[in-house]
Each structure stands twice: as C-alpha cells, then as structure tokens.
C-alpha cells in the first residue's frame, strides 16, 4: 500500500435510495431459486445489489418446521449498495414458520406479504403459534398484504394440466411475478431461463411461466404497491459490464484466471466441508480445463497432495474451513520449510470445533497467522467482498510463485454465499503470473536464493540434471542437505522470516480505504466486514465525524506504511467477527491503544451495530484531534 492509496480514500456521501427484500419459506418452497431469479432481474434492471441466502442447517427438514425455513435477502439500489441490509423493508413469508423466524428482521412499519393459504392450523402449530398471527393483531405496526398465493397459483397453472404437486411448486414463480410488478423486473429473461432449465419437462415450463405471469398480473390488476419500500429501483449502477457473482464463484474464476495467466497446471486437492465444498464443486464443473480437482480422503491428504503437486511443478491448492484448516497445520509447516508455492483457502465458519458450520465468523485469523509449530511465517490475505475473491486469489498465487511460499486466503461463509454485481475486469489489465522454473544446472542448489525476493529456485522433477532432495529436516543454506548446525538454523529461520517480510513490498495496489485520511478515528477491518464498516463510516462522515476506514487485504505482512497512517488519527478501532484477533496484532506491532469491536453470533455485522459502537468510541475519545466540516 502506498500513500497514493490513502489519498484515494473517498468520501461516500450519498448512499442513494435502497430497498431490502427478504423471501422466507419452507426448504421445499424454492426460495433460493426465487431469490436468485429476482436478483438477476434486479441486476438486469441495472441496480446495484447484495444478496445473502440464509439456508437451514438441516439438509431437508420436515415441512413447516421452524428449523426448515430457508430465506434469501437482497438489498438493491445504486452503486452504494455494499451490504444485504440491516433491516428488511419487505418480507415475503410463505408459511407461519417463516414469519415466526424472520419477523425480527423486518423494520417497524415494514411490509409483510404472506401466503394466507399456508396459515392453516397444522402449520401454525408446527411454527409454535397459539393463534393465527394474521388475525390476532400481533402484526399491527407492520403493513400486511395477505394473499392466497397457493390457490391463486393453482388456478393460474390449472390450464397447463400439471398435477397438484407441480402446481404447488410453481408458487415461487407466482411470487416472482408479483415481485417484478412491485419492484420492477423483466419477465423475459426469467422465462428464457425456465425454458432452458426445464427443457426436458415442457409441462413444468408451462406451469412456471403461467405462474410467473399470473403473479405479475395479480399485482397489476389489484394495483398493489410496495410504496416507499420500492425506492431502490430509483437508483442505478454506473455504466459497465457486470455479472452477479458469489464469493465462491469469484474465487473459482480467480483460480481459473491463475491457470490462464500462469500456464501452471492448478491442482486443487481438498476434502469436502461446509462452506468450502462449493469451491470444489465450481472447479470440478470446469472439467479439467486449467485445473485438476482431487477429492482427497481427508484434509491432511488434501494439503499434502497439493504440496506434492507444487513440487512436481503444478500449483497446489487446498481449501477448507475451520476443522479442516486445523488439520492442515502440520503440512503447512512442511510447505514453509521446503519453500514451495501453495494456496490454502479457509472459508471461515463459526467455531470452535464443529461450531455452526453454515454461519460466518472471522475467528481463524490467529490460526492462519500463528497456527504452526516452530517459526513458520507465511502471507495471509483476505478478500473484502464476494467479487474481490477474484483478484485476491490471483494476488495470492502471484505471491506464492514469486516468493516460493504457501499463502493463506481467509474468506468466510458470508462472502462465499453472498452475491453482488461485479464489474468484469478487462483481461488485458490482468498481469500474467510468470513462474520461473529453474533449468540451468550450472551452480544449481535447491536453497540458494534470489537476492530480491529471497525465493529459492523452483526445479521441477523431470528437468535434466537438477535432481535434488528436499525435506522437513532443517536444510543447509544453499545445498538443502540435512543440517543440525546451530548457525545454519539461526540463519535459515531469519531468511524465512525476511522473505515473508519482503512480501510487503509486493504492493497489493488495492484502494484500501475511504473517509478521512486523517482525523479522530481510523476504523480498521478485514474480510467480509467491509460493507458494514464502510456504510457505518459513511454515516458517521455524513454526521460530520472525522473517521476513516482502512480495510486490510493483506494481513501479513502488514503494509509497510500502516504505522504512518495510524499516526494521522487520534484513535484506532478494529472491527472483526471474533473476540479480537487483528486488534492484537495492530496493538503489538504499533503500540497503539486500538479499540476492539467484535461480534461472535454467527451473523454478519449490521451497519447499525458498527455505527453505534464507533459512536461510543468516538464519544469516549478524550481529545478529538480535529473536526471536519
């Protein structure tokens, strides 16, 4: 990071109009399809958006149960939309359980749309309602649109002649049609998608399209209006070519880009685990183009196979989540010791132990930084947003190959699943990754170093006359032979540390901040807290507070001028979804009394939570350094 970057800190003054919609229903109701299609339509209408699915933990829970509720939230508006939204403007509740478990997300005065047909005695009981909430007055304070979605759908699809089961399944498309009416949205692309998706089942196509149209017509005929809640459609994204992307897909595409940019055979070796498996699925779907995927027998086999692949001249990659990451620690030490490139991706979830596998947390930072025996330093990067996963893995690969080092990338369950529009990069702007394989036998030794990067040579088996041995026992500087020499061990330990320290010079030239470039409080974040912090800081800026936001993409080594930036602010606060892990690093490195704002509920931060906490710190700061106008 350079000072230019700090100069580039921008003031995000006007967030523009936004709308938050949340669809909630039974696992079997097709909520995720509904949400996904709605998001696509919103995107095609040129709105900025962030979506967040909220799956049940169970694979398939009994219908109508509270733990079987599946939800999908979307905030949309213009460029300024960077979170899925704290409070919901419009809640679709397809059954009592969905209403019960999601009502607290709705803002006061918000709009509830329910399928009245689902509010029958049995479902009410399953959800734990003693009385029908639609009738007992408990929803006063909200606006209610009570619609018999199930029977309206049944009526609409009746002409297509499909059976009752399929008719029931079309409910989500009926609701999608209604949503298009309420919030804007073009049915044509959705119809095209339905046609291609169900091409082998013409009656399904017919019924879904009929439902979609009927829902739209219903809204039109009844002149339904979401009122203020629809203001998001009044804002637009800036011009450009976009696609909507989740963190998982962006990361997968980033790895594909690494393959294309480097020419290396990417060798992705992993063991399934939530929420990392989706990346394996994405890469497997590439069918061997650029990337070989290997489902190993466990996480240790995954990472050691990846190390083997890197030794053989591929680029080994392994991904996991907490429990699996923990199992990789021994082998990570080997990768550090033998100095081979390697990417290890941790899609963090709530811990400790099995914890809450589907919920995000940022509590593996310590593990990434410090979770190896012996002195085994390595770079740690973290994407701030779903789309940023793309360039972060490219940077990680570049560092790994340039410095001959394993690199850890910390994502989380929120980034992996959330989606946002991503302005597609111009491929010409992506720098190639140029691994230099040693071929010259003259003077070759496996542990001599490049004077700049301190990287050792990468000598692929199969290269004539470079046969050599590497291993986990301490290696003699230069020859790599086993050495117990005290001076050698001291030197090698220092060299390994110095090599990683030099990665700070690699220049991750991201814009990494916004808000004030000096002032009362610098808010530091990393990873998926980006949106919540940025929105909170914007609000405080608009309220006249001299607050800056610095979001670290590279956590180790820290940017070289970070100390200088910190010095420009009266105080420092670190916001993270753990009990205070980055803050410890900032405090020890810079001896600043950095304050810690944390949350470990398995939920992403809400903007309001961060804002309130920051206000508290600002109010407590003894001598505000400055006030901005």
């Amino acid at each position: 990071m350079t000072d230019d970057v700090v100069r580039a800190m921008i003031v995000n003054d006007d967030p523009g109009p936004r709308t938050v919609v949340r669809f909630a229903g039974d696992s079997g109701d097709g909520i995720q399809v509904l949400g996904g299609e709605f998001a696509k339509a919103v995107a095609l209408a040129h709105h900025g958006l962030v979506t967040l699915p909220d799956f049940p933990a169970e694979i398939r829970a009994p219908a109508g149960s509270t733990f079987g509720v599946s939800a999908f939230q979307i905030q949309f508006g213009g460029d300024g939309v960077i979170t899925p939204g704290d409070e919901v403007d419009v809640l679709f509740a397809f059954n009592p359980a969905a209403l019960k478990t999601n009502l607290d997300t709705l803002k006061q005065g918000g709009l509830i749309i329910v399928d009245t047909d689902a509010f029958a005695a049995r479902n009410l009981k399953r959800a734990g309602y003693a009385a029908n909430p639609l009738e007992d007055g408990s929803l006063t304070g909200y606006r209610l649109m009570a619609i018999g979605i199930t029977h309206l759908t049944a009526e609409a699809v009746a002409p297509t002649g499909v059976g009752r089961k399929q008719a029931g399944r079309a409910k989500n498309f009926w609701s999608l049609g209604l949503s298009y009416w309420l919030f804007g949205g073009d049915r044509v692309p959705t119809i095209a998608w339905i046609e291609s998706k169900f091409s082998s089942m013409p009656d399904v196509v017919a019924s879904n399209v009929a439902a979609l149209n009927a829902g739209h017509a219903y809204g039109e005929t009844m002149e339904l209006d979401a009122g203020d809640a629809a203001h998001g459609r009044d804002a637009e994204l800036h011009h450009g070519v976009f696609r909507t992307i989740t963190g998982t897909d962006a990361m997968g595409l980033g790895l594909a880009a690494v393959a294309a940019l480097s020419g290396l055979k990417l060798t992705y070796c992993s063991y399934p685990i939530t929420p990392a498996s989706a990346l394996l699925h994405f890469l497997a779907s590439l069918k061997g183009r650029g990337i070989v995927t290997f489902q190993a027998e466990d996480e240790v086999a995954g990472i050691t196979a990846a190390i083997g692949a890197s030794y053989a001249g591929g680029l080994g990659i392994s991904a996991s989540a907490g429990p699996g990451m923990a199992l990789k620690t021994e082998a990570l030490g080997l990768a550090v010791a033998v100095e081979l490139p390697l990417l290890v991706i941790d899609v963090q979830r709530a811990g400790p132990s099995t914890g809450m596998p589907t919920k995000p947390e940022q509590a593996d930072l310590n593990l990434a930084l410090f979770g190896r025996h012996g002195e085994a330093p390595l770079p740690v990067l973290a994407p701030a947003t779903p789309s940023e996963c793309f360039r972060i893995v490219i940077e990680a690969a570049r560092i790994a190959v340039t410095y001959m080092t394993p690199v850890i990338v910390l994502s989380d369950a929120y980034i992996a699943n959330a989606a946002q529009p991503w302005e597609l990069p111009d491929l010409d702007t992506l720098h190639s990754i140029a691994p230099t394989f040693r071929s010259d036998p003259d003077g070759f030794e496996p542990f001599t170093r490049d004077p700049d990067t301190l990287a050792r040579p990468w000598a692929r088996p199969g290269t004539p006359e470079l046969a050599h041995r590497i291993g986990g026992l301490e290696r003699a500087d230069g020859s790599g032979n086993i050495s117990y020499d005290p001076d050698n061990h001291q030197r090698m330990t220092e060299l390994r540390a110095e090599k990683i320290a030099r990665v700070a010079n690699a220049g991750l030239d991201h814009e990494i901040g916004s808000g004030a470039t000096s002032g009362d409080l610098l808010v530091i974040g990393w990873g998926s807290t980006y949106g919540a912090i940025e929105d909170a800081v914007s609000r405080l800026r608009r309220a006249g507070r001299a607050v800056g936001h610095l979001h670290l993409r590279q956590i180790w080594p820290l940017p070289t001028n970070l100390g200088a930036i910190l010095a420009r602010f009266g105080g420092v606060a670190v916001v993270e979804m753990n009990q205070g892990q980055l803050v410890r690093l900032i405090r020890s490195e810079f001896l600043v009394d950095a304050r810690s704002i944390t949350q470990t509920s398995g939920q992403p931060f809400q903007v309001g939570t961060v804002e309130t906490a920051l206000r508290g710190i600002l109010d407590g700061l003894e001598e505000p350094k400055s006030q901005i106008g």
């Binding site: 976009f242 696609r243 880009a257 055979k265 183009r289 290997f294 196979a305 692929r460 041995r469 291993g471």
Partner: protein
C-alpha cells in the same frame, strides 16, 4: 528424453553419507533400489522418491534422483499430488511400518484403491526405529519395548493382508538381504501399472534384531521361506523337495514332503493371495513373492480418459468470465 542409456547402481549414489546404524537392513534395500533403478533405465531426472519420516524414510537422501523427505505418514498423498501434476514421473514411495501402517495407513489404503501408478515399498522392521524402539503396528503381541516394557498387547496388522483387503491390485512380500529376490520383486512392482505394494521384511539390528527369524541366511533361508511365482509350484527346502498344498476351503496350506503334490501359485487368484498373506504358522515357511497382481486401469489414466486436462487459454477465461454478464 533418454539422455542416459546405460545406468549403473553407482549413478544413483548421492554425495550424502549414509547414516543408518551399521548392520541395518536398510542398506541392503538401498542397494537393491539402486540396482533396480539402474536396470529399469528410466532417466534419473524423471524419477521421484517420496518418503515420510523414520529411518526408512531417509532413503531419498541416498538416491541421486528427485526426492522428497516429507512428513510422517503422508508420503502416499504427496505422491498422489505429484502424479496429479505430472503423471509422467516415475514415483517411488518408501517408508517404515510406523509411517505406512500407523499414522499413514489411511493414505496407504486410499492410494491402493485408487491405483495411482506408484511403487510403494514398506520397510517392515516391526518397530519404530528412528524414535528409539517403541513397538509398532506390526510388532507381535508381547513385544517388550520402551513403550511396552511389560510386553505389547495389540494384535499385529498384517501389511500384505491389509493391502489386499484395501483393494490393492499388486501385493508382494520380500526381505531386505535377499539380493536376488528383492530386486526381482521391485522390478515386478515397477512394471505394474498402478499402485504396487511391496512389503520388505527388514531387520532393525538395534531395536528389534531378528524379528522375522532367520529368513535370509544361506543356511536357513531355504527352509524358512517359500518363494512363490506365478504358475510355478510352491516349493521350498534345500533341494526344493518340500511344498505347500493349498487347502482352499479355509484358505489354508499344508506342508507336503512330496514336491509333486505342491500347488502352483496363481497371482491372479485373490483368494490364494490372501491365504499366502495370512499364512503364519511356525511349521510352515514364510511366503515371499508377488502374492497378487491384477492389472486394472491406473488412476491417472482413468482420470485422463474421463476428464482430460487441458490448459486454460485467455480466450477460455474470457468466455468463463463473461458468461452471465450484462451491461449497465
């Protein structure tokens, strides 16, 4: 690429001093490995020897090929990764009974069932040599060791049987100092297109001397071992005058003094192979040789057939990226 035509075992010596205990059986295995590598004639620069940790696992440092002395138990997975990235390499995996059968047995089993084309050489000394003599998964119950001063309790693992049970396609046994048989078996393993498992009975002179009895001395070898070869009768004894008769119903053997009665070995017969692997009778010789060899498609070829790897061009990348895009 075949730069070197005539290789000798000497070509495989490194500049590193061999540091096993004087008298250790590992020396003999090293010697055979060098001999076999020379005989195979593969360019040493296309050979990779992978190991875990243990006395046995030091071997790569003594072979002038590519080598990776990794971490305890994980050599099979490392080797799998090497093959995934470059299926052309000739990969050997070596390790001790702790490495392969305690911490690493799971990876061993999985590389065997996948049939990754590597040669796995187990140095079975029935003890943890490097860590100074604790009992191992192949130690017989009652073994006194620093960790089991009153004698171990755990029944032993039978490595060859485990490999057979784990769907291994090539399973063999030999012994360290049999400088005729050991290379013969290693060559067979090398010739197998898939994961070939060779158990080498190896003497740890320091911590478990004579653990397998006298299998290799000129004097007793003939009586104490039976070398089985495909299609040949299973004969042993100084004058090949005794034999094994296969009693298939219970998968057992009977020793016969009538050589003509001896059964022939059939290395494609899993049941017979299992019976040989399981034969553990003081009155019968220890079977050595290729117990089982059932060629099937190797893992990398099967993968390549199903999901052929191709580099990803920038054009491909462009297509992937812009697949679902729209213009705002």
């Amino acid at each position: 690429m075949n730069r070197i035509i005539n290789l000798t075992p000497k070509d495989f010596e490194t500049d590193q001093e061999v540091r096993w205990c004087p008298g250790c059986g590992d020396y003999a295995i090293l010697k055979s490995m060098r001999k076999v590598l020379a005989e195979v004639g593969r360019d040493p620069d296309e050979v990779v020897v992978v190991s875990g940790i243990g006395c046995a696992a030091r071997l790569p440092y003594y072979l002038e090929t590519y080598g990776f002395h990794s971490i305890h138990g994980r050599a099979p997975s490392l080797a799998t990764g090497i093959k995934l990235a470059n299926p052309e390499l000739d990969v050997w995996v070596v390790g001790g009974d702790g490495d392969f059968l305690a911490i690493g047995a799971n990876h061993l089993m999985h590389i065997l069932r996948r049939n990754v084309d590597v040669n796995l050489v187990l140095f079975n000394n029935a003890v943890y040599g490097l860590t100074k003599g604790q009992s191992s998964p192949t130690s017989v119950p009652g073994t006194r060791s620093p960790s089991t001063p009153d004698g171990s309790v755990d029944p032993a693992v039978n490595p060859a049987m485990l490999a057979l049970g784990g769907n291994g396609g090539f399973v063999a046994r030999t012994a360290d100092t049999l400088q005729d048989h050991l290379p013969e078996v290693l060559l067979r393993a090398h010739g197998f297109n898939g994961a070939a498992f060779v158990e080498v009975l190896q003497n740890c002179i320091v911590y478990n001397d004579n653990a397998f009895g006298d299998l290799t001395s000129k004097k007793n070898r003939a009586e104490n071992t039976v070398i089985v070869r495909h299609g040949e009768p299973m004969l042993f004894g100084a004058d090949n005058d005794r034999g094994l008769v296969y009693e298939p119903v219970r998968g057992e053997f009977r020793v016969t003094e009538n050589a003509a009665e001896a059964s022939a070995h059939d290395e494609t017969n899993w049941a017979l192979a299992a019976a040989l692997a399981r034969l553990d009778d003081p009155a019968a010789p220890t079977p050595l040789g290729v117990f089982y060899c059932a060629p099937r498609e190797d893992y990398l070829s099967a993968r390549e057939a199903r999901i052929p790897y191709a580099p990803l061009s920038l054009g491909d990348l462009n297509d992937l990226l812009y697949a679902d895009s729209w213009r705002a």
